[in-house]
Symmetry: C2
Subunit: 408 residues, 2 copies
């Protein structure tokens, strides 16, 4: 076998990758964050940090509190029941319960260190990320209270996002649009709750409804694209916002669907997820400098958002998972090559060997644009989730020889 064979295609390569993801998660990413991000005084996590872990803002993202609690609990449930992981996660959940709900039952988005509210947003992603934290906590401890809370938050999230007229609109009703994002988050939240609570019909229903809507309204096979926003009937609005593509986001959606494909053992879902990955890899990969562009335009016209050509950390995390899953599910060596390509580029450019973790924001050419390791958007979530998912996949498939369907 040639020395340039992608690591995923050989047993030695897979062992090397497994070690890279596992050690990266346990020795690098978790050590960067914990225990120093745990706020012993007010509870929760201080996650707005510079390159070396110095706190640059004591404010707290509600998303981050839920996501980081979930991450710790996923490791506790799936890898090893370390008591400190449970304790830190409980601190995050307690902070959420004590401080992060408005009087109308909806959650805030941004709070002070001691939990006073700064901002509530129109949408309800805080609720989705708190739901998965409670679900994983219920699984870890058997807490019926957390189980009930997770289901209540999931119901709230789906009701808020999918009941027409409930969420206050950003725009007038002149040009109604629906988004890929709430459908993706509904799928992954239902998948997490199903992992914790079993096959309830409500989880299956939301997963199928949202996958069907993505397939029917957002995936445009004739144009080779997954849209980020469309008219309620799937029509395309030929304006800046309507043409906007977010390749990393669509690729994240692709792996949520490939994960479902593996769960359901469904060839149709494998094909859908791979179609989404194929076309958005094509749209997103920067042939000149490598890495995934943040935004593209449907018709390759200029994008209005200033940071469109920057390279953000999370699309690369999502693409590493998506390409690995696609390879595992299809055996197509193309995906092993893509996996190698994005794995190598991302580790070369985002990693910070001096202080650990990844930088969040690179210029198009791969130079860091900022030393931030955490802010209201970046915390201990996408990167360790990728390391955890890929480690888990490799544990299951380490000794499987996948046959390339192209040579079958």
């Amino acid at each position: 076998m040639s020395s340039t064979a992608p690591l995923l295609t050989t047993a030695e390569g897979r062992a090397e990758l497994l070690k890279c993801y596992r050690d990266g998660l346990l020795e690098d990413t978790l050590r960067f964050w914990f225990p120093r991000c745990v706020d012993a005084e007010h509870g929760g996590f201080l996650h707005c940090v510079d390159r070396d872990g110095t706190v640059v803002d004591t404010d707290k993202s509600v998303w981050a509190q839920g996501r980081m609690s979930w991450m710790l609990l996923s490791l506790y449930n799936g890898y090893e029941a370390r008591p400190e992981w449970l304790a830190w996660a409980k601190g995050g959940i307690d902070f959420l319960e004590r401080h992060c709900y408005d009087t109308d039952g909806r959650m805030f988005f941004h709070v002070t260190r001691d939990g006073r509210p700064i901002r509530k947003r129109r949408y309800a992603y805080s609720e989705a990320f708190t739901a998965i934290a409670h679900a994983a906590y219920a699984r870890a401890t058997g807490s019926e209270e957390s189980m009930a809370k997770a289901i209540w938050l999931f119901e709230h999230f789906t009701r808020w996002n999918f009941t027409p007229g409930l969420m206050p609109p950003k725009s007038t009703d002149v040009r109604p649009m629906i988004g890929l994002a709430p459908r993706m988050i509904a799928i992954v939240t239902a998948q997490e709750l199903r992992d914790c609570f079993g096959m309830e019909p409500r989880f299956q229903e939301w997963i199928f409804r949202c996958i069907n809507e993505i397939d029917r309204l957002f995936v445009k096979r004739d144009l080779g694209v997954v849209m980020e926003s469309v008219r309620p009937d799937g029509g395309i609005e030929d304006h800046f916002d309507g043409r906007l593509l977010n390749p990393g986001h669509a690729i994240e959606g692709a792996w949520f669907i490939l994960r479902e494909a593996a769960f359901q053992n469904s060839g149709w879902l494998v094909r859908l997820g791979c179609q989404m990955l194929d076309c958005m890899w094509e749209r997103g990969w920067d042939a000149e400098h490598g890495g995934l562009f943040y935004f593209r335009d449907l018709h390759n016209r200029p994008v209005q958002e200033y940071w469109h050509e920057m390279k953000f950390w999370w699309p690369h995390n999502e693409a590493i998972i998506a390409t690995m899953l696609a390879y595992v599910l299809t055996g197509d060596v193309k995906y092993a090559r893509w996996h190698q390509q994005v794995h190598d580029w991302a580790h070369r450019h985002f990693a910070d060997p001096e202080h650990g973790e990844w930088f969040g924001y690179l210029n198009r050419d791969g130079r860091p644009s900022s030393t931030l390791k955490g802010n209201l958007w970046k915390s201990c979530f996408h990167h360790p989730r990728m390391q955890c998912c890929c480690w888990g996949l490799l544990e299951r498939f380490q000794n499987t020889n996948l046959q390339d369907p192209n040579t079958r």
Copy 2:
């Protein structure tokens, strides 16, 4: 005199600059936009355009309709009464009056080509830019209706921005903040209305109130900085948003104050404007690549906004005006050197000799990040305003030999 003497310091240099700004405005910028941006079908201007003027979005910014009408009328009033400039401006104003007001009297922010509303924002800058368009139209034509409308919009803008509790807040009341922006826009809007309607006390009052608030609350001499947002008592919030500096914006504010200094013949205002320019030039100029950074952090910590190190066109327009005005008012050759520095960098990197006008968005190193010449934020405004202001200043001071106070 050395051949490297800044152009502003010699009569030949000033003649060369005058020609550059005048011809740039009349032969390049206006020809890029007009007449092709005039929407013969629906009225107003189609301003979302690519490098060669191709329309990439037919939606209309309400700001752009008012700003472009004002720009045409400023030239009509100040330079030459060309009938087409008046007609195009009237088309912009008619579009605003027909389509851009909500039933509560407030204006929209973003409308479709045929004037159906897409988005209304919390703040009231649409009203300020429509006010200056009406004021310049009243000056051009004697229209009493436009005069009344301009004054009504100015009163609405100031009431909306400065009456506590009137504007719906973005955040909770846990951390109240006030901004530099509404004070700057109040000053420049009042200055424009005063130019058109004369010295009414209400204009003077708003100009003085806002300059005093900027001096007292936003300019921090001990820190060498003009803050973008502060607590209502001028205190600094040590968080991402509270530390955020926008050098180009503060430099724009500096020249609004220097313009007032010239009008009032006030040494105190010259000192204030120059202090603002001095410290924010220091904060904003990129010593490595040249040009002005978009955002900086008060304590040089990392900035949360992704595009912080990009170079946007408008801060460079504002800095060219501010440095020229500072030189004219003080004779300090430092400002002539800074003017040369930003004039040269900006013309070298933003100009598009092939199709005219300036690109809007460059990477830190000066390479264009986008081919857009217009979008919801960029239209025919900052760049021609700079060309017009600098041309006018040079006409007045072309043959004046300013003595450098450092050598007096």
